[in-house]
Amino acid sequence: MRDAAIETFELTKQYDQRPFFRRTQGGQTAVYPLNLRVEPGELFGLLGPNGAGKTTLVKMLCTLVLPSGGTAQVAGYGLDNGSAIRAAVGLVSSDERSFYWRLSAQRNLDFFAAMHGLRGATARQRVAAVLQDVGLEGVGERPFAQFSSGMKQQLAIARGLLHQPRLLFLDEPSRSLDPTATHNLHLLIQRLRREQAMTIFLITHDLAEAEKLCDRVGLLHQGKLQTVGRPADLRRQLWTQRQYSIVVSGKKTAVLSTLASLLPNAEASEPAAGQTQLSFWAEEDGGRLTAVLDHLRHHQHHIYTIEATPPSLEAVFQRFTAGEQGSREAEENFLPCSPTPLPPI
């Protein structure tokens, strides 16, 4: 088996409540014992709501935060070898404060290139290359303070690439970007993988981005890695239903009355005179759909169209993380081992 790009073993982070003067038992657990393996060259996405522990996890992997328990191998090094890890990985954080505002973009990058041990012509070449990679060539002389939020984010990405890391952590990289810049970022990520076989660990709230880019995604919720899988598999695993939309003949009240026992919560509208559009969730296996169609035909409703839409990962995610109560229910219902569907029909 190849060495993993990232492998964690029961990696845990608990923050003491009174960390300096008096230790207390317990405290806030940001990350519960977590086991995860990311392969070299893989683009792994980590999804989770605010406060889920995503950034803490990444900071532990980057050695900026010490774990309370467990360990990890990052780019082939143990977490106790911080210097080697930091030389091998890049971190693009979502904190746009992390530059010197009075300096130009170029001078900021010159400084961080030196911190990575790059010198002379090599440093100049790398700075020019990364500015071009992120589309900031030509504005390198402008002070950082004059950059837009999007440009600041692009510069953060450029900094993360300066030392040509084998593994790149991206913490919500498209948060401040406009659609064009986001598109360019996606192209850059894909190019980094294609040309440099770079492993990328992407934290994102943008589920479309995760679905579009990631080989696998993990859902982190309340410090626990709930599940890991390919985006499509995850969607299937977590939500075995589809949203069906059927246009039938007849008035809304009549159609709803006909289906009252089968679809008590169906939504209905009248897109045209004498037609009703029904919208409801049902299992992918088609059992309930067949029953609904049979029932409609039996009551002389003509069926014009049937559409089935799989739930977006966003919908899955929202259901999964919706509120405390919702979360508990979701966890009970959505753990990968549980086939129980969540949304009531």
Binding site: K13, S83, R86, A87, F99, R102, L103, A114
Partner: protein, 268 residues
């Protein structure tokens, strides 16, 4: 290491000179400060000469060296903790510690511009004193003065790094630096000789490296003291350096580890 230190120096030079007005006002204020003490020395005249006999008897020369070394003390005391504080508030500390640069290099590099600028200011003090106000060093042991300065810088920096360690953990270290700064001005002998203070204060003053640094510098520059005369002060300064500097670096490493444990590197 040198590439990194040069990068720190350039970074802070560019930032400092980007505030042009503040930069030139800072330079201008040196003239005013020197003039204040020049006129004060004219005012006190020869009355204080007996107290300053070991240092050549001239109050202006005495206080100018006090001001110059006081600059290094101030820089040593505050620049490290200010650098940490600034890096925390601007969010650059995490970005810096994400590079393979050693923590020791980060802390030393963060203050290197402040020391360079302090040296520049000291040169201006001396240039004004010598060029415009008739200051003369007649019998001078330059080599000893240089060594005393070097030891003083290391000792002051050690206290500064200790203050930065406190800053790293508590996010506030100004109280510690203010305490040391005021103590130095009060009992270190910056503006007047330690010998005019009560005995018990003179004893406390011996616990501060600035007291020994000022005495060594003045004896070397104004009294033409020999190496043998300077030996007690030099050994005391060296002892401060040997104890404080490794201790300070250890404390700073501990503070960074502590902040990593707490996940508070970027907090302020």
């Amino acid at each position: 290491m040198l590439t990194r230190l040069r990068a720190f120096l350039l970074r802070d030079f560019y930032i400092e000179t980007s505030y042009r007005l503040a930069f030139w006002v800072g330079i201008g204020s040196i003239f005013l400060r020197v003039l204040i003490f020049y006129f004060l020395s004219q005012f006190v005249g020869d009355q204080v000469a007996p107290l300053l006999e070991p240092y050549g008897g001239d109050y202006f020369a005495f206080v100018l060296i006090g001001l110059a070394l006081g600059s290094y003390f101030g820089v040593g005391l505050s620049s490290f903790s200010q650098a940490v504080r600034q890096a925390q508030t601007t969010g650059t500390l995490e970005a810096l510690l994400m590079t393979p640069t050693a923590v020791g290099t980060v802390i030393v590099g963060s203050a290197i511009w402040s020391y360079t600028y302090a040296t520049f200011r000291v040169l201006i003090y001396l240039l004004i004193g010598i060029g415009l106000l008739g200051l003369r060093f007649t019998t001078t042991n330059y080599l000893a003065a240089l060594l005393a300065l070097l030891l003083a810088i290391i000792a002051f920096a050690s206290i500064g790094i200790l203050a930065a360690s406190v800053m790293m953990i508590t996010k506030r270290g100004e109280a510690l630096t203010a305490l040391f700064g005021n103590a130095a001005n009060l009992i270190g002998g910056v503006f007047y000789p330690v010998s005019i203070m009560p005995n018990w204060l003179q004893t406390v003053a011996q616990l501060l490296p600035i007291t020994h640094a000022l005495r060594a510098m003045r004896l070397a520059l104004l009294g033409g003291a020999s190496w043998a005369d300077l030996a007690p002060e030099m050994f005391t300064l060296a002892a401060f350096c040997l104890v404080l500097f490794p201790l300070a670096l250890l404390c700073f490493r501990f503070a960074v580890e502590r902040a990593r444990q707490e996940g508070s590197l970027a907090h302020y």
